[in-house]
Structures are given as structure tokens and as C-alpha cells.
Symmetry: none
Subunit: 200 residues, 4 copies
DNA sequence: TATGAATGAGTCTTCATTCAT
DNA sequence: CATGAATGAAGACTCATTCAT
């Protein structure tokens, strides 16, 4: 049963093919971000990677660890991308639109909601690891906001709170209301709302 | 320790105690909102209600149905509360602060993230039911925004988008950054950010 | 919940409507004969009768008892019908065809197979009750065979064994091979096979 | 009492012991044939095999699949045995007695009755698989009958119907009436009944 | 007479995890 | 490096049964 075409032992690694470990991390990231913690089984991840469950255990000690690794990896990549975009030589508003556009493009889940679901399975340390990784993004944005405030480009607000707020608003991208619009148009609309406020 | 075992058969119903069905719906709402779909077991709900799993099945056909009932109930209650607050006789900004304060008070999870997790377990119809119930809240807020726009009280923006945006920002309440502050102060800060925007 | 249009208390019994008890016995017979013991739930029976499970318990002490009652009733009815048919004033062979035709008409399950499934749930006494009821039919047939043997109408065989054998062969009626033919034609074919044997 | 708990992981495989998969299939066959579909729990099968339920699921996707595998295996084995016996170099009547004796030896349940019970749990395809496997036996018998008819050894009857009939009659083996007799004697009696018929 | 509400035990199934190879 | 084979624990769901009304 379980038609097994794969022979055991190390398969010859062709160059430029990603390693099993990388594949696992990548697919796991996608699945966890899309479906949450509990709803994703190791079986599912293994299948998506074309390996067996046992192989995952060879690289990661267990589901919590894999989850932690996957999420911190995602967060780090997001941080880097965000940082890069914010270094561009443009007015702040345009840079925020750029960042927003990118984030809207990838469907993203609410961080705290996912974490809440996983909380009971993760160790305190793992929770912290992921949380810290995620805070990174907001700190980067906040840093840029703070600089702009200092330079008198924008109104004085709490930069970290503002960063979180912008980030949160981008989740509107998942909503029905966003379905008709391109990421670019929506990003512009959202940042504008944020930029000008409601006041007349 | 075996003392709290119930015997089968109809229990003598004391007056004014809430019915089992209500209790179940209520506790289930809390748990699902706090932990998501998969992470909550019927066992857990049953225990929280002081009944057995089988009793839950007496009232609800299964986990998906209970989830649907629980979430739509929550959403409807929230709609009503929100509607009531927005009817108050105050300037819009104050009313928004009021609504925000209330929402920040209750820990709330991101709707779409929870739904994404549950999606694979729910029927198309159930998904729609919940979604429609949730849209209600935003439509109410949007309605009030639209009126204020017409009356020239606030800048012209897309009211529904704005409603979703405000709603999303309130999820900051779950964040570390919010921990030190009272709901009232935080609400004021967030609405202010929204109200004045970043522009100088 | 459970939209309950029925008021409690004794409903006015219209004449000629069968009593609840009879209905239950009848529907239960049908379901048990069609699906076996385990595969039929009291819920299912209750629903088929338009009453609640609890009502069934009002009339029968439990599933085993209901099963016993249902099957013995079926068997007794079958016995009576068979006896009547065999009293007719016709040659034996014609009477056997008549009996066969009737039996083929009703889909029937193998008695021992059904009993085997139920065995672990029934008391020794209940098993015996059903078994005795069923044996009745074969004894009736055997009685008529014995008489015909005495009168030199047919070859000398073990009448009871022959009765069981004929009875068993009639289960061919459930088979694919029987699907194209009318009960009458099939009955004739089977009895003929039995009557003449294979020998040339 | 906890002594027979296995630890997880691959057990050292002793030679010549049958594989778990085979054991499971074998025990499952026995139990299903003896007690039917619903009355047999996977727990029960697992225990009979000295493994856990989860192990069964490692080899079979679920109860319906295991049932299908078990029954088709039984039917195939029976076909082979029957075919072999019918190839023997003896007069047809003796060969039929041989086949009958073997079948009477093993307690056997009525196929259609078992299937009826399982029907609602099996897929259309599974039902067909089992059914086809079972038809095999009758086709083999029918083939031999047909040949004997051609060669003028026996009277002309519908061979397939006759095969089914003989098969059915052998279920008398399960009856009380058969209890006193050896399989051989009973087989001879039954085939004789079939061979000579009732006619004088 | 009949029911609504509840239970405990048991079912199938899935999952994360382990370990010999 | 990677797997096949197995496990214990837990989850959703169903069922026969009970009892106050």
C-alpha cells in the first residue's frame, strides 16, 4: 500500500533546487499564514512538500517549533522588504503607499488572531520569538514616521501606534470591499484616508 | 470529585437560571472569539457550561452549526450596541470615540482571520450567514459616516471603506502597546489619529 | 428549537388510525428487516413514525425488546400467510409456487445473518423467542411436505431440511439475476428446479 | 496489565510472522463475516490483532475501505478454492458434494443481507467491487454446470440460477437442524435433494 | 399518554509524535 | 538523510437510555 516510489537514503541534490528544509519552511509558512495553526496538519505540510512527516521531524523538533520558525521567517522577510521600500528616495506619503501596496498584494492574516489560536501550544519563549520578529516591522515603520515628525513633515503623533494602525487598516485588503480594486488604487485610498483624516 | 455528575433525564428547572441553550451559545461565543475555531473543542465548551458534549448536540447539529450560531449572535449583539451608541446626541467624533472605547474594551479577534481558519469546515451557506451578520456593523457605521458627509461635517471619503478601516484599527487594542492605557484614552488617541490624519 | 407542533398529552385517537404502538411495531419491522439491527437507530424509527424516541420507550423497554417484538410479529404474520396458502385446494407443487411467489415479492433478509448481528445485544430468551417464531414457518411447510410424502405424492426426503432449503433458495430473489423477472415466473422456475432436480 | 502496551516507532520485525496488514485483513474478514458491518468496531478488530486502531488507519483509509478489502479478499479466496475443487476428476455430483462440504464447514453469512446492512456506509464503487468479487464464485459454479448440461450429464436448467440456488441452500448449515450432523453427511443430503428433486 | 432535556458510553477518525532501519 | 510503521491522546459525533413533567 501507500505506493512508494521514493527510495530511502539521501536523494541526489540537483543544484539550485531548494533543500528539503527550505521547502518545508516555505510551504509551512504559506499554510500557517493562510489557515492558522491548528487547521494545518504536519501531514498536509509534508504532502505539499513531497516528503514524509518523519522528514519534517528530522529538521524541526515538532509542530510548535516549525510554526515558530515559519512565522519568524515570514516576519523577517517582510521586515526586510518593508525596510528596503522605506529607504527609497521619495516623499513619505509615496513610500507609505508603496509599502501598503505590497502588503495588500499578499493576503495577510491578523497576527494576534493567529497567535491567540496557537498560544496554548507554544512555549513562552516561542511566543516571544515570533512576537519580537513581528514587532520588527512596526518598529521600522515607526522609525521612519518618527524621523518625519522630527523633520516637521507630518503632524506629531505616537509613531508606534500609528505604525500599528496603518498596518491594521491594510487588512481591509482581505475584505469583500477590496475585491474590485487593484492593490495600487486601494493602497492609495487607504493612505489618503490616513493622511488627511476625516476632519474637513 | 464525582459529585458534579448529572444523572440523565430532565433536570428540575430553577427559575431565572439561563437555559442550557443560552449558556452554550454564550460560552461558545466567548471561546470561539478568543481562540478561534479549531482550537476550541466541544468538550471544552461543554465543560465551561457544566453540561456534556451530548447536550450540545441536542441543541446544535454540530460544531459548524454552533460556530455559526455563536458568531452571528455575537455580531448581532455588537451591531445593536453600535447602533445604539451612534444614535446618541453628540458630535460624530465623540460618538466614534464611544464606539471605539466599547470595542477596545472587549478583546476581539480579526474576523477574516478567524473565518479563514474555519472556512474549510463550514458550508457555503454558513459562511455567508456569518459574513452577512458581520457586515451589518460596518454598514451601520458607514451609514452614520455617510450622513455626516452629506451634512458637511466631515471630509468626503468612501464611508464603507472608512468604517472598515476604523474597525480594523481598533484591533490595536490587542497589542502590547495598548496594555498600559485605559480603553478611554486609547480610543481617544485612535479616533484622533483618524480624525486629523498625518498631514500637518 | 426543534420546532414542536405537537402538544403533549394524549392526542384524540381517530378511529381506524393505527395506534402509536402498532405504528412503531410496523415501521420497526420494516426497518430491521431491511437494514439489520445495528444499522437501525431508535431515532430513525421514531422519526419514521412521527413520534419521539421517548415514546418508543413508553411502549418497549429498549431496543432489544422492540427488535424481538418486531421480528416475532413479522414471523407470525408470515406463518399465518404461509399456512393459509398451503391449505388451498391445489396440487402441492402449485401451492409451493404460490408460497414462493409471495415470499419473493417481499424483499427478505437472511434470518440467521440478521440474528448473528443482533446476537450480542439480545438476551438468550429473546433470541429464543425470535427463533421459535421463525421456525414456525418451516414447520408448517415441513408438515405439508410430510403429509405429501406419506401420501406418496413426492419422494421421501427429510421434510424439515427440505423446507429450510426451499426457504433459503428463495433468497435468490434479492439477487441481480432475479431483477428482470416477475415474481411469478421466478417462483415457478425455482420450484421446478426443486421439483425435478438436476438428474436427467 | 499495562504490560502489552507497545511503544510507538517501528517494531523489530521478526521473520515469518505475518505482517500487520495481513493480520488486520484476516481478522477483519472473520469478524465482518461473522457479525456484519455495524456490529464490528475497529476497536474490536484492532484488539483482535494486537495493534491499535490508529495502525489500522495506517493501512486502510477507513472502515468502509477495510470492509471492502476484507470481503473481496474472502470472496476471492473462496472462488479459488471452489474453482480448484471443481477441477477435480470426479463426477459432477461428487464435486458438488465436495464444494458443499467445504462451504458448510465455514460458517457463512448471507451475502446480500450483510451488504444491505453496510450499504449506507459504502460508496457505490465499493459496493460494486464486493459484489463483483462475490459473483465470481457463482460464475465458476455456473460454468461447470453449463458444461455438464452441454455434455448431457444433467438436465437443462439455468446454470447461474442453479448456482445461486445451491449456494443459498448451503446456508442451512447455520441452522439448528444442521447441528447434529457432520458437514459431509449434510452436504451429501443437500446435494441429493438438489440432484433428485422432489418428484417421485 | 407522550415528550423535552439530558446523559454516559462508545464510534470513527485525525493528529502529533516516536523509533528502528 | 529520510522513511515506514506504529502509537496514545484527543476530537467530533451518535446512540440507547433515563427521568421530570
Amino acid at each position: 500500500m501507500k505506493s512508494n516510489l521514493r527510495t530511502p537514503g539521501r536523494p541526489k541534490r540537483k543544484e539550485q533546487e531548494p533543500s528539503v528544509q527550505e521547502t518545508v519552511l516555505f510551504k509551512a509558512s504559506m499554510l500557517f499564514m493562510e489557515l492558522g495553526y491548528e487547521a494545518v496538519s504536519l501531514q498536509q505540510i509534508a504532502k505539499a512538500c513531497g516528503v514524509t512527516k518523519a522528514s519534517i521531524y528530522y529538521y524541526y523538533k515538532g509542530k510548535p517549533e516549525l510554526f515558530t520558525a515559519a512565522l519568524t521567517a515570514v516576519m523577517r522577510r517582510a521586515s526586510e522588504r518593508t525596510a528596503a521600500l522605506l529607504e527609497e528616495d521619495m516623499p513619505l506619503r509615496e513610500r507609505l503607499i508603496l509599502v501598503s501596496e505590497t502588503k495588500l498584494g499578499r493576503q495577510h492574516a491578523d497576527f494576534e488572531t493567529i497567535m491567540r489560536e496557537a498560544r496554548s501550544s507554544l512555549s513562552e519563549e516561542q511566543l516571544d520569538d515570533i512576537r519580537r520578529a513581528e514587532e520588527g516591522i512596526h518598529e521600522i515603520i515607526a522609525g521612519h514616521l518618527a524621523r518625519s515628525i522630527e523633520q516637521g513633515e507630518i503632524r506629531q503623533t505616537d509613531p508606534l501606534l500609528t505604525a500599528y494602525a496603518l498596518s491594521a487598516v491594510l487588512m481591509v485588503g482581505n475584505r469583500e470591499i477590496a475585491k474590485g480594486k487593484t492593490a495600487e488604487k486601494l493602497a492609495r485610498e487607504i493612505v489618503d484616508l490616513f493622511w488627511h483624516g476625516l476632519e474637513k
